[in-house]
């Protein structure tokens, strides 16, 4: 059977809406299992604008789409499945971030950045990450419980790690964190939010200008240095790149810190095993990344030529959401996918960091941050427990990146 997203649905029933809600905070949306079984590549309407998009739900198909050069990441192309409202005139002005570039532009910028994130470089960052985590745990322990783990640990740790990588001067850290925390604070008014984004952008703009004349030992300076030879980016591109590193690496990691701790607290037997045997941590991190797959629809594409996926033909110009949370609950790859199992041997096959040329450049860094945070809490705060009723917790159900707003804990 061949169908296309703009054809009238043969049943006459309206298209299902996307995003779909997780049935419980720890599971995938209820529709996904049924879709994987009966209509693994099917149509939905985007809630934000009612436009149609394809949803791809099987592990095999998600890998196929994300590995296909005919599936573009360029959000300016008509048909790209936008998940929040961007006015046309703004879209035209947007500078493409690495995330939204296609080759050869993508290849050139990515190649300038990958030396910063090799397995070895990330390993060298571990002692400093441990120090940052220890300082925040010290402060938590000194203040005494209950504390909100999101503000005490989950947000500041990745923020500081990125600050140091980008070369934000130490005296600006507090200011920097305030803006980035404001950008994650969903209780702010649009005006307050806009002000924080603008302040941060102006700051990054000045920071890049400073590095242009006074280079330091940091990612931005090294990028500028290479760029002098390769000339692939102008000043505004470098500012955009710095912003992507910040936004891409901050809230994602923060959400995984909080959700991972919460999931482990709900599974005390697995938590006890991890505490007794820290060598299990790397696989536990993969399994937590898998069960939550927090950036489910972050892997969005638009077909630039017709693409066959399963028995469907996706036409040129049609949008595709290659749902990594659906793929990561595919029972043909992950038996009993809804169950958290830190020993799961296929956990690493998850697609929570995407797949293909855009696979998360910060994946190995995020892995180390998560290992260090979970490991340190288990070791240093053995009595850690939730300081709220589970049903009081508010989850980021409608956000692009899933998470929990607050996580009150005590010990």
């Amino acid at each position: 059977m061949t169908q296309s997203a703009d054809a009238a649905p043969e049943t006459g029933t309206p298209l299902p809406q996307f995003p779909m809600r997780r049935t419980c905070p720890f599971s995938e949306p209820g529709e996904y299992a049924e879709m994987r079984a009966d209509r693994p590549v099917s149509r939905a309407a985007l809630k934000v604008n009612g436009k149609p998009t394809w949803l791809v739900t099987r592990h095999e198909h998600v890998r196929q789409v994300l590995g296909d050069s005919r599936a573009s990441s360029n959000l300016k192309l008509p048909g790209y499945p936008h998940q929040f409202h961007i006015p046309e005139e703004m879209l035209a002005q947007i500078r493409l971030m690495l995330l939204n570039m296609d080759p050869p532009q993508h290849t050139a910028q990515r190649r300038m950045l990958i030396p910063e994130f090799t397995a070895r470089r990330v390993k060298e960052m571990r002692p400093r990450i441990q120090q940052i985590v220890d300082e925040h745990v010290d402060a938590m322990l000194a203040a005494g419980g209950p504390v909100d783990l999101v503000t005490a640990l989950a947000l500041p740790v990745p923020s500081l790690v990125i600050c140091e990588l980008l070369g934000v001067p130490y005296e600006d850290h507090a200011q920097f964190e305030e803006w980035s925390a404001a950008m994650m604070n969903h209780d702010l008014s649009p005006a307050e939010y806009g002000a924080a984004v603008q302040a941060l952008d102006m700051y990054l703009d000045k920071l890049v200008t400073l590095k242009e004349s006074e280079p330091g030992d940091d990612l931005i300076s090294r990028f500028l240095e290479k760029n002098r030879a390769e000339r692939i980016a102008d000043h505004a591109d470098v500012v955009t790149m710095a912003r992507l590193m910040l936004v891409g690496g901050h809230e994602t990691t923060a959400n995984m810190i909080a959700l991972g701790v919460l999931a482990l607290l709900r599974h005390p037997e697995q938590l006890a095993e991890l505490r007794a045997e820290p060598a299990l941590l790397p696989n536990a991190v993969e399994e937590l990344l898998r069960v939550f797959s927090i950036s489910d629809s972050g892997t969005a594409r638009v077909a630039v030529e017709d693409i066959e996926v399963g028995d469907v033909t996706i036409r040129a110009g049609e949008g595709i959401l290659a749902l990594n949370n659906a793929a990561d609950h595919d029972e043909s790859v992950f038996p009993d996918p809804g169950t958290l199992d830190i020993h799961r041997k296929e956990a690493r096959s998850h697609l929570a960091f995407g797949y293909g040329i855009h696979q998360c450049i910060g994946a190995n860094l995020a892995r180390v941050e998560l290992e260090v945070v979970y490991g340190t809490l288990l070791r240093r705060v053995p009595g850690l427990r939730l300081a709220a009723e589970p049903d009081e917790l508010r989850f980021k159900d409608d956000a692009m990146v899933y998470g929990v707003y607050e996580l009150p804990v005590t010990w």
């Binding site: 990958i114 030396p115 293909g356 994946a363």
Partner: protein, 63 residues
Amino acid sequence: MRVSAERDRCVGSGQCALLSPEVFDQDDEGLVVVLVEEPADGHREEVLQAVDLCPSRTLRVHG
């Protein structure tokens, strides 16, 4: 078992070097380097896993 890498395809995700550091490394550019072209049987399973996980299908095994 022989391992090879089509380096032009590599996107430097470092999955292979993380999974099987005795067989795979990344050079100063961040691109994959095969350290041991004929890994011992003890590495077989992790090498096959690295080949499967590589997001850009850069790695191949023969035999």
